[in-house]
């Protein structure tokens, strides 16, 4: 699954660690999601979307 997490995070000026702290996950989890190596659970995906005030489908995009 593709996602816009890196762009959204950088637009806020947050580090990966800072975003991880806000979402209560590790920095490694943020790195893995940004690189598309790990697809987050639905609750985490909703938390991410909520944190950036976006809809979940605006953050996560299915691979075509």
């Amino acid at each position: 699954m593709n996602n816009k997490l890196r762009d959204l995070r950088e637009a806020k000026g947050w580090s990966q660690q800072e975003l991880g702290d806000r979402l209560k996950v590790s920095r490694q989890t943020i790195i893995a999601i940004e690189k598309g190596k790990y697809d987050p659970s639905l609750p985490l995906a909703f938390s991410i979307a909520r944190l950036f005030s976006r809809r979940i489908e605006d953050v996560f995009l299915p691979e075509r």
């Binding site: 991880g20 209560k24 996950v25 590790s26 490694q28 989890t29 987050p40």
Partner: protein, 134 residues
């Protein structure tokens, strides 16, 4: 440390009960071993003494499970996959060794190796999987 700042609830290492359990296991295993080799005991007493190290082992296991339970979802996935790999390795090796022992191809070996191989394989697999998700 290679854990790169995770798990989310700041890495504090294994919980105290893990270390207490490990320390108690070493002590009870040594004492039980000494008692079983030096004392004249009834069979049921030998069984009770031989099983004593099981108690701190369970405490250790509880600490390990509690630690994993409190980590974030990626860490849990890594640990789950690592345990699966380790279990497959131990099952394959133990079944193969069992067959070879059954037909006297290899001499009988103490089954204590299984736990050690499991923990070792778990650690190696967790390290490899952690790199995969970077």
């Amino acid at each position: 440390m290679a854990w790169d700042g995770y798990p989310a609830r700041k890495w504090a290492g294994y919980p105290a009960e893990f270390w207490i359990g490990m320390g108690a296991y070493v002590v009870t295993a040594l004492l039980a071993g000494r008692a079983l080799t030096t004392m004249e005991l009834e069979p049921h007493s030998r069984l009770v003494i031989g099983l004593l190290p099981l108690i701190p082992l369970l405490v250790m296991g509880r600490g390990l499970v509690r630690m994993i339970r409190h980590q974030d979802e990626l860490y849990k996935r890594i640990q789950f996959e690592a345990v699966a790999y380790a279990a497959v390795i131990v099952i394959v090796v133990s079944l193969t060794l069992g067959v070879l022992e059954e037909f006297d191809v290899v001499p009988h070996v103490n089954s204590m190796w299984a736990g050690q191989v499991l923990v070792f394989a778990w650690g190696i697999a967790a390290g490899i999987l952690t790199r995969r998700y970077r």
